[in-house]
């Protein structure tokens, strides 16, 4: 049977290529993702094990976890833990004590500790390892210190100090800086000669100001300085030795010539000398760290990407299943003949599955090899952060997984093959597929659809009622996600029922365009199963793309609207004269769409909402700014959030944040209430008003107005103050006093680069004396950028599935072309031009793709909206259809459909009509 399988496979090699490509793309994706995981893991391990230098082992004190230290309160030392004895164990080749001494380094030989402390830079004193072989930093120049009085300096620190190899540096303990004068005087600086410069590739000491590598005795010397500086008696200081240094991790290596058992003996010996210290090898530590980091599984980033990879594999499975079904249909006669001459059902079944295994193995190996090649090329091209770290999992997982999926996908076809009866060899078969699905499947998908829709809709209803601060704010989302998944599964399960229906509807329209369209529509009707599976694969991809696009644009629109009410002014310059010259300068900046001078009063409000009584200490009062906003400013320098583009005279507009953010001191007023206030020109007037009232003085000399105005609430917020007020120019005139404060409000170009604009504005504002720049637009920009990046990343990941689905379209078309050779030849014989034949295939492709595209858009649009609504509970979510992306999807699926039809069409028209007629006989 195997030889027959091989024979049949050889004949259908070309037929299997597109399915193979689908497998290869999906396994490439998986392999590349796992390779990325290796890189991420390697980078974190490298960062984590940087402290080891080249050391193989670490010995880490358990302090403070160990109970023995907590009882006597003594700090464990290198001697008390036995850490200092490691060096004396036979076979230990190099030891590094990882303790650091905070020091102040200054250039040259300092005369006194205090002068050295005041002129130097802080740094971290570290001890050179006994053989200088396992340092966590790299030697860039010169040599490591080999005796007291020598030091290797971090290159950055050295250049700050202006010293190079051979130079002199003075070191004092940081404690000197804060020591009493006489204690500080007792300390004499440690003067060392620079023997080498070091680099710190993992930035381990950069936060501390860079490292100064010293001999062990000099570290002890710095410890002594520290003790002196904190007033320790000289005798105690003199008796301080290396063993008295506080215990910290010790890194060590064993002789390279040792066998594993010798190493184990040495480690056992070391362990016996240690108290409350854990010895670990670097590889063990790295493994444990990764386990902790990845929670026992794969890297979370990799896991997230793998979800998309699995999706791509699923789409590939649809393509594969389709191919095998067609193959079996094409081979029915051969299979029937085999059955007639004695092949068993099992043999036929195995023959198809074997073909699946071979195909899966072949193309997943190809995909994996490609992933390795691509990563290797990127690594060779020195792309930042990319390296090729081979691993068994990045080879085995894609190959095994893809092969399994291929076999699974071909099992349906294998079953179909066993249903071929020997009789079929003798009588002609009707190859027309039956549309429709099994009753059980129909019932399940209707139930799924109904249940999913119900969940989605109730989630949406609930989201509208729940406030974002409530505890179960996540419930709607937790309902909507399974709801959408149920709907999606229901839709995909029932594609066999509704896609043929949808496409025959579209086909009728296409038939109106002429002969090519008529024939395309008829062909689509002829293979409803195959077409539905092909469209279904594309539907999955496009639905997810549309979901992401819609979700992102809804979220972005909603967040922007929220931002409008929280940051109604993009940017403003306060404490400024706001004269026309300045406004002109601001306006002239790149990225500024408009700038206007806005006047503001300082107002005092009473918590009661009436005109506050300044002299009454019991009347809880608050201060805020009241902006005079000309109509021309609305929509240009302040967001259009007042609900009107014309502020009414005689009304005060109150931010609706007033009664949510500061409930105690601010009045709780709503539209329809009235609000009393004391208005002053400036904050200083307001302050003196208070001061005078407090002292019982005459407040009437201070310019002020008292008024009560009807309230209109609106969702706006200006500057740092959520509770600001706004009035029209007319209202301001009627107050009878002039506003004392002027701001420049700036409307920002939505497409301007935020950080560049901030730089330009900051530079300009520095020239306006005493002014202040506040910019809310940076937040808007930030949100937009985050949403945009998230959306683009997801779209990029989803595109793999879409590409595979498009390969599926080309696949289906070419399978059909082979199958229809005789029909096409007949049509060509009776007068179909090759152009018409090509057009008919293009129409067929367009029908499949655009049908799936439209259905995917509608479903994805719905999912995206539901997602955004339930994610942003409590806020009414703007339904923002992302027309650009929708149009892009339709256009892309159109172009892709046309491209997908190119090769099959070439194949169909290349064959002269006679040959096709002869072949088919």
């Amino acid at each position: 049977m195997w030889s027959i399988t091989r024979g049949m496979m050889k004949r259908s090699r070309r037929t299997l290529v597109p399915a193979g490509i689908a497998i290869a793309i999906a396994s490439l994706f998986i392999s590349a993702t796992l390779l990325l995981g290796n890189v991420l893991d390697a980078q974190s391990v490298k960062q984590f094990t940087a402290e080891y230098g080249n050391a193989e082992y670490s010995a880490t004190p358990d302090y403070p976890a160990s109970p023995s230290y907590q009882s006597d309160g003594d700090v464990p030392t290198l001697a008390s833990t036995g850490l200092e004895d490691i060096a004396s164990v036979n076979g230990v080749s190099d030891v590094r004590y990882s303790g650091t001494e905070p020091v102040i380094a200054s250039a040259g030989a300092a005369s006194s500790a205090s002068s050295a402390a005041s002129s130097g830079y802080s740094a971290s004193g570290i001890e050179v390892s006994t053989k200088a072989g396992i340092m966590p930093i790299d030697l860039a120049d010169g040599s490591w210190p080999s005796k007291p009085g020598e030091a290797a300096l971090d290159s950055d620190l050295a250049s700050k100090l202006g010293v190079s190899v051979g130079g002199t540096v003075s070191l004092v303990s940081t404690a000197v800086d804060s020591a009493a004068a006489d204690d500080a005087a007792a300390v004499s600086p440690l003067v060392v000669r620079v023997t080498g410069l070091t680099d710190d590739p993992h930035e381990q000491y950069s936060l501390a100001g860079g490292s100064v590598t010293l001999a062990a005795d000099d570290i002890v010397e710095l410890e002594r300085q520290n003790l002196l500086a904190i007033g320790t008696p000289q005798s105690d200081v003199d008796s301080f030795t290396h063993g008295d240094i506080t215990a910290s991790a010790v890194y060590f290596s064993l002789d390279s010539g040792m066998s594993d058992s010798q190493k184990n003996d040495a480690i056992g010996q070391i362990r016996s000398k240690l108290r409350s210290v854990t010895v670990t090898s670097r590889t063990d530590a790295a493994d444990a760290y990764l386990r902790k980091l990845n929670g026992g599984g794969v890297n979370p980033v990799v896991a997230a990407i793998l979800v998309f990879a699995i999706l791509a594999m699923f789409v590939a499975a649809l393509v594969i299943a389709n191919t095998f079904r067609v193959l079996v249909t094409q081979r029915r006669r051969t299979l029937a003949l085999l059955r007639t001459i004695g092949a068993s059902k099992g043999q036929v079944h195995r023959s198809v599955l074997t073909e699946g295994v071979v195909l899966g193995l072949e193309y997943s190996a190809l995909g994996t090899a490609l992933a390795y090649a691509i990563v290797a090329i990127l690594a060779a091209a020195k792309v930042q952060g990319i390296e090729l770290i081979p691993s068994a999992s990045s080879i085995l997982v894609p190959i095994v997984f893809a092969t399994l999926i291929t076999v699974l996908a071909s099992s349906g076809a294998a079953r179909l093959a066993t249903s071929v009866t020997p009789m079929e060899a003798l009588r002609p078969i009707d190859a027309t597929e039956k549309a429709g699905i099994k009753a059980a499947r129909a019932v399940v998908s209707v139930l799924l659809l109904a249940g999913g829709l119900a969940l989605c809709l109730s989630a949406v209803r609930m989201a509208g009622r729940i406030s974002p601060s409530s505890n179960d704010y996540a419930t709607p989302l937790l309902m909507a996600v399974p709801g959408c998944i149920l709907v999606f599964i229901g839709l995909v399960m029932s594609t066999q029922a509704w896609i043929p229906w949808l496409l025959s509807g579209l086909g009728r329209l296409v038939s109106l365009t002429g002969a090519s369209g008529t024939i395309a529509a008829a062909n689509i009707r002829k293979n409803p199963r195959r077409i539905a599976a092909t469209s279904g694969a594309l539907l999955i991809g496009i639905t997810l793309v549309a979901t992401v696009a819609t979700g992102a644009s809804c979220a972005s629109a909603t967040v922007n609207r929220e931002l409008d009410s929280h940051y109604s002014v993009d940017a403003s310059i306060t404490e400024v004269a706001a004269d026309p010259a300045q406004i002109g300068q601001v306006k002239a900046l790149d990225g500024v769409s408009d700038a206007q001078g806005i006047a503001a009063y300082a107002v005092t409000l009473s918590a009661k909402g009436t005109v506050p009584d300044i002299s009454d200490a019991d009347d809880a009062q608050s201060y805020t700014a009241m902006y005079v906003i000309p109509d021309s400013a609305i929509g240009s320098v302040v967001s259009d959030t007042f609900g009107t583009r014309h502020l009414e005279d005689g009304v005060v507009y109150v931010s609706d944040a007033m009664h949510t953010t500061k409930p105690n001191t601010t009045p709780d007023v709503r539209t329809g209430d009235s609000l009393g206030m004391v208005v002053t020109s400036t904050r200083s007037d307001q302050d003196s008003l208070y001061a005078t009232a407090f002292e019982g003085g005459d407040v009437s000399t201070i310019p002020q107005a008292q008024t009560t105005l009807p309230v209109r609430t609106a969702s706006f917020a200006i500057g740092d103050d959520d509770c600001s007020l706004a009035i029209s120019e007319g209202t301001a005139r009627s107050l009878g006093i002039d506003p004392g404060r002027h701001d420049i409000w700036i409307g920002v170009d939505k497409n301007a680069d935020a950080s560049d604009l901030i730089d330009r504005l900051t530079t300009l504002t520095r020239d306006f004396n005493g002014s202040n720049l506040t910019g809310a637009f940076i937040f808007r920009k930030m949100f937009d950028t985050v949403i945009d990046i998230a959306m683009k990343a997801m779209l990029a990941l989803l595109s793999v599935a879409v590409i595979i689905a498009l390969v599926g379209v080309a696949n289906t078309l070419s399978l059909s072309v082979i199958e229809r050779q005789r029909e096409s030849a007949t049509l060509r014989a009776i007068g179909m031009t090759s152009g018409q034949l090509r057009a008919s295939l293009a129409w067929e492709s367009v029908l499949i793709s655009v049908g799936a595209g439209l259905a995917g858009l509608v479903t994805g649009g719905f999912f995206g909206w539901v997602g955004a609504v339930t994610l942003l509970t409590g806020t009414s979510v703007a339904f923002a259809p992302n027309w650009a992306i929708y149009g892009g999807i339709v256009l892309l699926s159109l172009v892709a459909a046309l491209l997908a039809s190119v090769l099959p069409a070439r194949r169909a028209t290349k064959v002269p009509p006679v040959v096709a007629l002869a072949d088919a006989d």
């Binding site: 008829a522 009707r525 007949t826 014989a829 009776i830 007068g831 179909m832 031009t833 006989d921």
Partner: protein
């Protein structure tokens, strides 16, 4: 087609009296042969392995005549038909179709010529399974972007006895009915020439007789030019003229063939070919033997 409007009403039954006045395009042409092959050569492959399917064939087919082409299997009958009808191109030589040399036509011109001037009837019917009988019949016009002349279509259907089968798909028709649909499709465009390659090859003897009778009447009553390839001497007896092919050459040309005469002729040809094959056994490109 415009002629159909002033045509007399058709009479029911198996006669085709009305077709004579309808099929003017075939009947009303100028004199001279409908189609003519001049020194026609068709080789498959090149060099030593080339198969010479047609070896310098010269033949003319007169208008309004029913010609049968006979000969052993592999003698080049189908090849001649394909080259004459513009389905395939010749290696050398010329084909004059209504005086035009179609060997100079490109693919598009050939396609349009076939669509407008040639009708095909195949051994295995070659109807399109996804269309109804009526759609199949109208397909050449659909391809041309024309509306079918409904009167003509229904007359053809009535005369071929498939009027009540028009809405059925090919899978729901018997072989004989399918072949009648194919005949209607071949005639729907009023073609100059109808080519039929073993039109009765897949039919039982009664259906065969019906189909051949229809072709005969078509020629008698409308002056349609019909060229038919057949293996069956009885079928050839329906024709006005029979050409016998062997090894890519015309070896006999008989007017008013009879069944007995044609059988004898073909048997003789087979013997001759078998002998030739036996004596040329070592030659790589010996003509293919008969059955």
């Amino acid at each position: 087609m415009s002629a159909s409007t002033n045509a007399p009403t058709p009479t029911a039954g198996q006669t085709l009296p009305n077709l004579a006045s309808l099929n003017q395009s075939a009947a009303g042409m100028a004199n001279g042969p409908a189609i003519q092959a001049i020194d026609l050569v068709k080789d498959y492959g090149t060099g030593d392995f080339a198969v010479h399917a047609l070896r310098h064939v010269n033949v003319a087919f007169e208008r309004g005549r029913f010609t049968a082409i006979m000969g052993p299997s592999g003698s080049g009958k189908s090849t001649l038909m394909h080259v004459l009808s513009g389905l395939d191109c010749a290696t050398s030589g010329h084909v004059l179709f209504d005086g035009n040399d179609i060997t100079t036509f490109d693919d598009k011109q050939l396609t349009l010529m076939r669509r407008d001037n040639v009708g095909f009837i195949f051994q295995s019917f070659n109807l399109l399974p996804m269309f109804t009988a009526e759609q199949n019949i109208a397909m050449p016009l659909t391809l041309a972007g024309k509306k079918p002349d409904r009167q003509w279509l229904h007359r053809l259907a009535a005369d071929l006895g498939i009027e009540d089968r028009l809405s059925h798909r090919p899978a729901e028709l018997s072989g004989g009915q399918q072949q009648r649909v194919a005949i209607a499709r071949a005639l729907i465009t009023h073609p100059h020439v109808v080519f039929a390659d073993e039109p009765t090859g897949a039919l039982d003897s009664i259906s065969s007789a019906e189909v051949l009778g229809m072709l005969r009447r078509l020629v008698d009553e409308t002056g349609q030019t019909v060229i038919m390839v057949t293996h069956d001497a009885a079928a050839a007896a329906y024709a006005d003229r029979a050409i016998v092919f062997s090894d890519g050459r015309i070896v006999a040309d008989v007017d008013h063939p009879t069944e007995e005469g044609m059988s004898a002729l073909v048997m003789e040809q087979r013997r001759a070919t078998a002998q030739a094959a036996a004596s040329n056994a070592a030659a790589p490109n010996a003509g293919p033997a008969g059955l």
